[in-house]
Symmetry: C2
Subunit: 379 residues, 2 copies
């Protein structure tokens, strides 16, 4: 392949690999540029709702992912202070029938690896060590200029370069928004986990300005944890943030990685993801807080819709139309997901009277009522 | 009657009259001392739950009260900002069957008048213009000394002198607690009420740090209103406090009395209501915020229990035992009512995420589920 291709994908994370794979499987010539020197994912566990696993199954990748992951039995919400179960969602046969796919938890690096292998098999030209400096648009081509001096020509450039997307700034003039919360993550061997850890379900412990999520990974060999707490206006660290939580929550904190943490940021929804032959997808288009565990899932949905539109326009090569139609199909849904994730975060972290109300609402709700999640997981 | 009687009741409000009537109807010699120069009630409407109307029926007074009041069709909670109905409680035949009595709203002065007439008929010695200065306890008598120099001897002194009870200070060394909210009240002719007023139900509009209650009185000829809002830390007045509320709420504010208002106060529950021959009842024993509309109702319950215990001890004249048994029977229930009223107030006045949770909880709750109120209204 010379320096020309039909498609340049910027960013080799989960979203970039997914869209590169989708396009390449459908016969498009795809070059993917990753800034880092090698492919890989930082982080730990990742939740895949049935809206994502349906796609992965269509792409022939779900069995591999299930092999490396876990099918959790339930999603369980508990009060982090008194430890009580607030509500739960059964992820068993009825759930899988309703949404025509399973709920899967998997290590981020495993999902990434499956997608990377798929891209290689599909003939994607995968380049690491290529940081994009600029994109120039001609009448019918785009020129992607890298900081190392290389330039790649293509009919379209897809920016999947994450929440800090450099390409986004050429399309939307907004700023990332700090939620004031930070996440600490970590995994531990399942046989070293505290007894209080449920090794078969996804459990979220909801506390005042803090929460802890726990679930199994790697066929149950690992326990994944994410601890999130408010730092804004609170100089105290991880342990102090969870000081009022029950023993079962505090018992998990010891195995979190202390050398790294993730500020939780998002942006306001935008309906404009593209400019001519440059289009944004995934976190670059709609970064969201993690409360719905939908960041990666929505990027996979983007990949499917973009691919569908590209196939539709295969003959006319009208990439601006592909990008615009993708954005028009996707933006209302991702905006809802972004907004709902924010509200969900508020609800998770309440205290006082609001906590009483939340707990009563959750405890008394009809657990067989799927209407609050049908919009997200439904076919 | 000379200056000796079996019982001295201090305070001629609804609670004082109720207990005086109960004792006199059962053959006790009762003298009632009212500080004011004449009997009467300030305020406007009053709600009587079935826990109160069952007693009034037993005392032969309910028909009179219904004649002067209204049997509302429903209790309705609405969001004061968007105006939406949150939940409702049907007060019709099924409610009356369940609790074996009706829900009645009546003018305070009408209830007071019915009780005053009953006391007169029962032979209570009713004295106005008698403010109690002190009570002395002997071995087997109490001496009630008034500021006008008169002294009354009795076997027992019952303090129903309200939230600012002078007698309470001889038994409990606590302070009244200001909730930071103030109530404005008022009545208007029903045919002059704004169209948005529901003339057949009790409607509470719940807003951020404010609420408005509306219901009919006097066979539907009057509309009663109570507007409550937080003043603590907010110098703004009534109209500003409701500025964010919907038109239907703001339309009612014009007919509130502006020359008088009621700071909303209560006290912490106490298990000690008596000292020897001095006993507290009603607001003097357990003043509560008005969110459950139970202040008068609980005073009526006190009257019944005290009377029952007095009858039980008719032969041994062991009034200290009567008071202690009354307090032991009543205090857990009135403490729950005091605490629940406070929580209810918090729930009524939330905003932001807590408001979303409250509204969702109220809107989705099963309206046929009476379990949250059975403890209060049940037989």
């Amino acid at each position: 392949m010379d320096n020309q291709s039909e498609v340049v994908v910027v960013g080799g994370g989960i979203g970039g690999l997914a869209v590169a794979n989708g396009l390449a499987r459908n016969g498009f010539g795809v070059r993917l540029l990753e800034r880092a020197d090698r492919f890989g994912e930082v982080g730990a566990g990742l939740q895949l709702g049935p809206n994502a696993t349906r796609l992965l199954r269509d792409w022939g990748l779900l069995d591999d992912i299930i092999d490396r992951g876990v099918l959790p039995e339930q999603l369980i919400l508990r009060d982090a202070v008194d430890g009580r179960v607030l509500t739960s969602l059964d992820l068993g046969a009825e759930f899988r029938r309703r949404y025509q796919a399973p709920y899967v938890v998997v290590h981020r690096s495993d999902l990434h690896d499956v997608l990377l292998t798929a891209c290689k098999e599909a003939g994607v030209d995968l380049l690491t060590g290529h940081e994009v400096a600029d994109v120039h648009l001609d009448a019918d081509r785009a020129q992607t200029v890298c900081t190392n001096g290389t330039t790649f020509g293509s009919e379209v450039v897809l920016g999947l370069d994450g929440v800090d997307s450099g390409l986004r700034s050429t399309i939307v003039g907004d700023e990332k928004i700090d939620s004031g919360f930070v996440a600490y993550r970590g995994t531990m061997p399942a046989d070293e986990a505290p007894e209080s850890v449920d090794q078969r379900s996804v459990v979220a412990w909801l506390g005042p300005d803090c929460h802890l999520v726990q679930y199994p990974l790697r066929r149950g060999d690992l326990i994944n944890q994410v601890a999130v707490f408010r730092t804004k206006g609170r100089p105290a660290g991880l342990d102090q943030a969870f000081a009022d939580c029950c023993e079962a929550v505090r018992a998990g904190l010891g195995s979190l990685w202390r050398d790294r943490n993730w500020p939780m940021t998002d942006r306001l929804p935008t309906a404009t993801w593209s400019h001519g032959r440059i289009g944004l997808l995934g976190d670059a288009a709609h970064p969201m807080l993690q409360y719905l565990a939908q960041g990666a899932c929505q990027a996979l949905e983007d990949a499917q819709v973009l691919t569908d539109q590209a196939v539709k326009h295969r003959r006319d090569h009208d990439w601006p139309a592909v990008l615009e139609e993708t954005q028009n199909i996707r933006a209302p849904r991702t905006a809802r997901t972004q907004r709902t994730a924010r509200i969900w975060g508020e609800i998770w972290h309440v205290e006082g009277t609001a906590r009483l109300l939340r707990n009563e609402l959750m405890r008394t709700r009809d657990r067989s009522d799927h209407s609050p999640i049908d919009w997200l997981y439904g076919v």
